[in-house]
């Protein structure tokens, strides 16, 4: 014990933090991210509306009119649907980063049915064929990487990422094949599409809201109470244990990814068959990636995920309004702000899992800190003493 120099920061694992404290830390992190964005945006905007104007615009963009509220709910449940689809695979520690492609394939399959069958067969029959082909197309796009993962342990995250681009270019091909010499945009189709369930925006939004509420509940029950769900969780914990318990790991991987992809295909079915009635290369709205963030931030718990999906869509729609009111020409600002929220949310997780002790103080830290300027972190590291006695600092 020659080393008497105590490191400035000492970290220990923390167990059993009360739920409300965890929520408080997360809320504080998100709030700091938003206030930070507000300050930067208000300072840089061509037509700044002031500090509180930012939050005003955020809320009016999300809740301003009845139409906006319905759109918010529609997008929330679509995103929740994608996130739930990905959770199915995540429970197994299978990184399905191909949500975008699986959604697009669902859209494409649906559009092909509409294009060739719409108006030629009775509508309910077209809907049924649309549904089945969309599910199949999404499932196909997920099961190809799954098969190679199951048999050769091929890197699934990169495989699924590449499948996204193949799906995107396939969509581009079909659009330019159907409308040669066009602008690459497809006009909405009219025949064979799913009818709205009611008047106005509510009628259009009701289907995704109801459908994905049911799907989420069903998947929750499936993962929590069915034998399949148990097998998935066991493989996620340890493949060897699962194999030892007599589970056919390959079969379960393939079966689970069929389900995961089919659910993404279902989102595509709703997007093309009901909401947009056409297909475009960006119709997935990057929900495959956002869904991963939702699933992870929601701790794979459907109820928390619903809250997070709601919050992210609140930000997306709110930021669109902020862009208009503050005079920005690019809507990509919302991705920047949401990205910042992700960073703070990911960072604050540290203060939930670990406790930070500062030298010379015995008081426990309530985890109010959120990641300071990241560059500071980098600079602090270099001159740290390397003695084996010193505890790893930060």
């Amino acid at each position: 014990m020659k080393n008497t120099k105590e490191p400035f920061i000492h970290i220990t694992r923390r167990e059993g933090l009360p739920l409300w404290k965890g929520l408080l830390i997360r809320a504080a992190a998100v709030l700091i991210a938003l206030i930070l964005s507000d300050i930067v945006i208000s300072a840089a905007a061509p037509r700044s509306q002031g500090f509180f104007g930012f939050f005003g615009a955020l809320f009016s963009g999300a809740f301003g009119t009845e139409r906006r509220i319905w759109l918010l709910f529609q997008n929330t449940f679509l995103l929740l649907g994608v996130a739930v689809a990905l959770v199915v695979a995540f429970k197994m520690k299978f990184w399905n980063l191909g949500g975008n492609g699986q959604i697009l394939m669902g859209c494409l399959a649906c559009a092909i049915c509409l294009k060739y069958l719409g108006g030629k067969l009775p509508d309910p029959l077209v809907w049924l064929i649309m549904l089945v082909t969309s599910l199949a197309a999404g499932a196909l796009w997920a099961v190809i990487p799954a098969i190679f993962k199951a048999f050769f342990n091929t890197n699934e995250s990169l495989f699924t990422l590449m499948m996204n681009y193949i799906a995107m270019y396939l969509v581009a091909f079909f659009i330019s094949f159907w409308y040669p010499g066009g602008t690459g945009a497809m006009p909405p189709l009219t025949e064979g599409v799913l009818p709205p369930l009611g008047e106005g925006q509510m009628g259009k939004s009701l289907l995704p809201v109801l459908l994905f509420a049911v799907v989420t509940a069903a998947i929750y029950l499936y993962l929590r109470f069915s034998k399949h769900g148990y097998e998935v969780a066991l493989i996620g914990d340890s493949k060897n244990t699962a194999r030892y318990a007599g589970i056919n790991v390959r079969k379960v991987i393939i079966r689970t990814l069929l389900l995961s992809g089919a659910l993404c295909g279902l989102v595509g079915f709703v997007l093309t068959g009901s909401i947009n009635r056409m297909v475009s290369t960006t119709m997935d709205g990057n929900m495959g990636f956002t869904g991963i963030m939702v699933a992870w931030m929601g701790n794979l718990d459907p109820l928390i995920m619903a809250g997070i999906a709601f919050f992210i869509n609140f930000l997306t729609r709110g930021m669109a309004q902020v862009c208009t009111e503050f005079g920005f020409t690019s809507e990509a600002l919302s991705d920047t702000v949401i990205g910042l929220v992700y960073f703070f949310f990911i960072g604050c997780e540290f203060f939930i899992r670990y406790r930070v002790h500062f030298a010379g103080r015995q008081k426990k830290q309530p985890g109010e800190e959120t990641p300071a300027s990241p560059e500071d972190g980098g600079q602090e590291q270099a001159p740290l003493p390397e003695d084996a006695g010193a505890k790893e600092a930060n």
Partner: protein
């Protein structure tokens, strides 16, 4: 054929920057899925650096413009790399999730930043002047040495920089003590820690350097390959390139020297659709699939062969907490 090869090299180095950057990062045990976002940041920073030069004087020197472009590209990219590093090294967050967040942020920020802060009246002509005349300035002898000159000398400075960086990275990783230590950190941080290697320091250095190098890839795409023309979908294109860079790491078997060849092959595949004669407009998207499909084949092939030399660093993707033992 000659122009095809020349273009393949020019496009390939974009992959090379991203790939070498990711190799360095992965050698420290960190899988950075934020590379697409980081490359975008490089493009944004590079454009800003060039714009600043023109703000300072109406006719800046070529050397200054190129230097500022490179400097700002590395700075912007390293900033996002620092966020990734802080979250994954110090705060021990999940690397995949953090990386995706970096990509979402970086792509969004670049699109926003280019449209709202960089591109104003007259800037696009300045950017394309810088791209065409400064960044793309060929070496002496490019015109007089026939096919040799066209193939090897008729490139902008960034092309040579990429190859130099790749060679340096290969030598450092293979033959120096620092490289050995870095590999040790990626294979088994606990062991490296026990022999007195500064694990955190090596991880940060590798991530920051890797990000800065990858950022040059974004700069290279905008300034060298596109000749300073900043299109509206530049962020989406670079994102696609970034994912390919990450996949290319597997193809190169975590060796920067192999990455040079792999990058040029991928560069050739990527630009294939513009060089095949007699295809119709509708068929172009199908040819665009080729690099992504080939990547999948490579992934499958390497996983089936499963050679000992082709394995990723053993602790890739795992966070290291000293007190966990």
């Amino acid at each position: 054929m000659l122009t095809f090869l020349t273009s393949a090299i020019e496009f390939g180095v974009i992959f090379l920057f991203g790939c070498v950057g990711e190799i360095l990062t992965e050698k420290s045990g960190h899988l950075n899925l934020g590379i697409p976002g980081i490359m975008c940041m490089g493009a944004a920073g590079g454009c800003l650096g060039v714009k600043l030069c023109y703000l300072a004087s109406p006719a800046p020197s070529a050397f200054l413009v190129v230097l500022m472009g490179i400097l700002f590209a590395m700075l912007f990219a390293a900033a996002l790399g620092a966020v990734y590093g802080f979250l994954t090294v110090s705060l021990r967050s999940n690397q995949n999730v953090t990386g995706l967040a970096c990509t979402i942020f970086g792509v969004g920020f670049t699109s926003f930043f280019l449209n709202n802060a960089v591109l104003s009246e007259g800037v696009s002509t300045q950017l394309s002047q810088a791209g065409l005349h400064f960044f793309n300035h060929p070496l002496p002898g490019a015109d007089s040495l026939g096919w040799f000159g066209t193939l090897f000398l008729d490139h902008g400075i960034l092309v040579y920089l990429a190859i130099v960086i790749a060679v340096i990275a290969a030598v450092v990783l293979r033959y120096t003590k620092a490289g050995l230590s870095l590999r040790a950190v990626g294979e088994s941080p606990a062991t490296a820690d026990a022999v007195g290697i500064n694990v955190t320091g090596y991880k940060y250095t590798a991530i920051l350097l890797g990000a800065a190098i990858a950022g040059l890839g974004g700069l290279c795409y905008v300034m060298d390959y596109m000749g300073g023309i900043v299109g509206s979908t530049v962020d989406q294109t670079i994102q696609g390139i970034g994912w390919l860079c990450i996949a290319l790491v597997i193809f190169a078997m975590w060796k920067p020297a192999f990455a040079i060849l792999g990058s040029i092959v991928f560069g050739a595949l990527y630009i294939l659709s513009s060089y095949i004669q007699g295809i119709s407009f509708e068929q172009i998207p199908l040819l665009n699939i080729v690099p992504f499909a080939v990547t999948i084949l490579v992934l499958i092939a390497t996983s089936i062969v499963g050679h000992r030399e082709m394995q990723p660093p053993a602790s890739l993707g795992l966070s290291y907490f000293r007190e966990d033992r």
